[in-house]
Structures are given as C-alpha cells and as structure tokens.
Amino acid sequence: MPPPLPPSPPPPRLLAGGDHHPPPTSASSPEHPFHSAHLVLPSPSPSTADLSSPHLPFALAFAFITQPSPLPRRLLVVLHAAGARFPAFYHAFASALLSLPFPLLLPHPRTRLLLAASELARAAAPGFAPLLVSLLRRVPFPGDARLLEVLHEHASFLADEEPQVLATAVFAFLRLLSRNRLAPAAGSVECKDCEECNGAKNLQECRGRLVSFCVSVLRDHFQVCALLGRDLVRSLHELALVPEFQLLWRDLILDRAADVCRIGTPRWCTAVAITSEMETQLLFMMNNVKWGDQKRYQLWFARKHLMVPGGEERIPDIVRFICCGYHPTNEVMQSGVIARWAVVGWLLTSCSKGYVVANAKLALFYDWLFFEKGRGSVMNIEPAMLLMVNSVSQYTDITNMLLEFLFLLIDNYDVQRKEVIARCVRSAFGVLVKKGVVPSLVPLTGCDKLSLLLRQKLLAFLSDTCEVAEEACGKPINEVSKGTELNKRIC
C-alpha cells in the first residue's frame, strides 16, 4: 500500500509577526491577497487567460519573493510575458510588492524585493520608479547595498528617463551619509541557508562606493541633482569636511550654490529623507490631532522614530518636511488641530545633540535665507515665524534662541553673500506681515522678556530699509514704542 501523502505544508510567510498579528488567512492581513492568489501561478508556458488573471500579479510577486534560491528562471519568463502582453501588468506587479509593509518583511522576501526592483529597472519596466523611490526612503536596511548597485548600473539611463529617481537616490544617500555617519543598519540577515541573503551587503560596508556614486552623479549629472533645489546645498554643506566632497565643493559647487539655492525645494524631495511611516504619522498629527491631545502621539512618535540609533539625526529632515513638504489648507488650519510650528517646537526641544539642534534650526530658517518676494512660498517660512511669536510669552528662551540663530545665519552662513541673505530675510519678515501670518512684529520688537540686545538688533536690521521696516512692523518705526507699551500686557 502506498504511504499516505503528507499534508501539504502551509505557504511560506512574507511578514514577521507572531500570534498577535492577523494570520495571512484573515482579510485584514497585508499577506492575504498573496496567499489567496499564490496557487494560480500558471505553468511554464502560460496561456493568455492565465496572463490576464487579476490574481497573477500577486501570485507572481508571491512566488518571486518566496521561492528558495536561486530564483527560478520561469518566473522571469512569466513576468516579462505578462508585461509584454499587458503593459499595466508591471505596474500591478510593482504595486503588489509595494503593498507589503516593509518593516515587517522577513529577510528572504526583503532580499528578493530588491531583486525584483533590480529586474524591473533592468527591463526599464513601468512601475520600477515608485518601487526604487520607496526603497530609497528605507535606507539603511539590511541588504540595501543592492540599491546602490542598481542605481550605479543605470545612472545614465535614469538621468535621461527618470531624472527624479536619480536625484532622489543622490539625496537619500547624501542624507544617509551626513545623518548616520553610517551607523550599522539595524537588524541582520537571518535567512541562513540562502546564498542570496548571505551575500547581501549593507551600505555601511561600502561607504567608499556610496561616496563615489554621489560624487560622480553630481559631477556627471549636476542639472539632474539641481532638481533637489536648495536642499542639495544644505546636504552638501553638512558633508563639506569629507575629503571627497571638499574637492567637489571647490571644483563644482562653489560657483553654482547661489543659483541652486534660488530653487525652492520640491515637496517630493523633503519626503525622501523620512520613512513613509514617519510621513503618515506626522500628517495624522497635523491633520487630525486637536490641540492639547498631542502629548501621547508625540511620545509614541519619539519612541518609535527618534529614540532609536540615528533617529535624532532625522530631526532636521523632519523639520524640512514640515516646512516644505506639507502645506495645510485654511480649513485644516482653522480646525483646531495641532499647528506645524508647534510640532517643530516640540522637535527642537527633543534634540539632545548640539549639532542636531543647529542643523534643525538651519532647516527651519533655510527658506528665509533665500526668500524672494513673489517667488518663495510664505508657507515655507511661516512655521519659524509663528514659533517665534507664539513662544515669546511662555517659552521666551525658544524665541531668543531662534532669533539669535537667525542673526548668526545672516552674518555667517555665506559671508560673501551676506548682504543678499540679509535682504532675503528682511523680505521674509515683510511678506509674513503683509500676508497676515502675524499682524505685526511688535510681539518681538516690543517684548521685554526678549533680550534687549536682540530687540535692538532686530529693529536696526528691519529699519535698514524703511519700507520693509514699516511693512514688517505694521506701522512707522516711531510708533513702535507705543506698540511696545500695548504689548507689555501680552508679554
């Protein structure tokens, strides 16, 4: 009698998470569409009906990221057969991969996800760009050196066809270099028996290649990198002491920095330097959480994202995201939710390292230094202004610290262009009052709690051109003292 057939083993898991996560059989598990589709994978010579099945993208993605090493060739055949026949297939395949929560991905599926991204990029298949960008937002993670390989291999193609992806890569890597100073990536490759996973390298192991990739793309495709706007210069400043970047500054950046700084930072760029979980949670705070209810959310956010290795170093990038990456509508601003300036204030007080505070303040004022009337967005400079004005009565030390830093920046950020920067900052003050972000600057110029020296400096700075000063203060200078009297009550 033949032995009874052994029960078929359960399909392999994609995500970590024990008993207290929904099982893959539950509709609320991100694995569910994969598990319910994985049996439909067609034979090595699929029919048209097989290829057009709506389950195929999930089935193929499942097979792609779970099959043991080496990846069966027939999966590539099916992928490109379906993609050639139905152009939307590649998108569906990439979306299926993107639907998995990356932080929970098990090591083998994670290695394979990178392989899938690399295969789509190699074939220039639609859908590879969002996949690469989403992975770039995740660095550092175990095995992430593969991303560098893919980008290095396709840099010229990307520069022509997907310049934003190349610029994203440069920005993600520059931020990684300056932020972490390449602290070890969290976690390890635990897929022991698999050569593919064991051979996966981390970016921390190839710092030299990472630096030379950034330098060569900056040299060969500077126009593409300039898409990042002034945040490119901000990032390069932080790396100015790294020898390779020192040379780059001298040869290339010095002459062009002023022009690049006139380009505002696009929104997509500020999102690159924070993970998608951070983005979701920050947006939830600024769109849904009412004033007074934010404490617990802040605590959770800090525990999860800031109090981890390399976490605090993200604060300047989070500040940039808040200033340039998210501009709430009037409706949201009036709905009683926590304001952007308050979130920035909390972040500033969460910094414990001196250089992080300095970089965070620079991030907050960065658009002030290059503000041009009619060109710059008032929403980019609004959080700094509101934080200074709203802190003045209760948290005067914050206002003092910020104003002092602003003057330091004006004098020292770029000594050769000091006058231009001063003009931009004056213009920023003027526009903020003119647009009604603050009714006047009297809360600053007339507040006794603020250091006298700073107030005098501010008045002198603003009165450099009378027009701006009047605009900024909302009244002629000689009336300011009257305002001061009135304002004593507020302070």
Binding site: D19, H20, T280, V289, K295, R296, L299, F301, R303
Partner: protein, 178 residues
Amino acid sequence: MAHREADAPSEGTAVSSIRTVKLKDLVPAATNTVNTTFIVLDKAAPSARPSHRHPHAQAARDSGGGGGREEKEVTCLALVADETAAAHFLLWGGECGAFEPGDIVRLTDGIFSYHRGNALVLRAGRRGRAEKVGEFTMLFVETPNMSELQWGPDPNDGRRMVQEAVVSPYSQIFKPLR
C-alpha cells in the same frame, strides 16, 4: 441608564462574533462577545504569579517566561481607548510583549468583566483574540473610562448591568498627559 442593543449579551450566537461595539457601549457581562478596535495608550509593568491551572495557563506558557520551571501567569494592565471612551485592558502572557503604546488592536470575542475581585477590565480571555492591526493613526478620548464606572444590576432586567456612578472620569492608574 439606557444602553444599546449591541451590549446585550447574546449567549454565543453567531451574530455576536461579527457585531462591533465602541468602548462607550461596553457593559460588564460574563460572556465573550466583545468585538471592538482600540488604540493602546499606555502599559504598566508586567506582573507574574503562579498559574494554579488557571484557564489562561496556556497563554502564560506561550509567553516563554517559565522555561521548564514553575509556570507563571504573566499579566499586564494597559490603558486603551477609542474615539468614544477609554478602558483598562488586561494583557495575558504573550500579549504583554506583543502590544506597545500606539498600537491599534482589534479584539474579537473579548470579555468585559470583573477580574480577581473588583477590577473591571476588558481582556481577550480564553476564547477571544487580540491582533495588532495598525499603529498611531486613530483618535481617542481618555474620558469616560469604562473601567472607572460603578455598575449595578438593571432594575428591569436583573441579568444586565447598568451604570450607577462615575468613580473617576479618567483612569486612576494611568494619569492623562497634559
């Protein structure tokens, strides 16, 4: 005080396993019929005691704390809430390490009842299940806290409980952060 149909203990009918309630509609009852979703606001330190062949011994074993020695029953009290109310949730065994503040948890077939004397807590119990379904993105209120209410038998129906008084508007164990 009047309360809703959804609260009525339904003696394990099939309907009970799919009907979901908000925390403000919780009523103490000795049935595993609570289906709800909440966010964990805070968590106390776990405590352990000998298990004494308690029905939850299985859960305690799962936590892996014993390692062959005397089995301990590990529990951990948490403050949970949704947009209508808060409550105390008692984590058992492996649940203690599985959920952190900020986690969004779906409870199926849970129970809201008096535990060890007089602590009114929500828990998964032997038949229920708690699963992490998300993180962070949920609004909540910290008052009323359903575990800080005094309940008594319904004069019209002795098998049911009704709210009699508010012991404390907020949790007395987990103070609100302001």
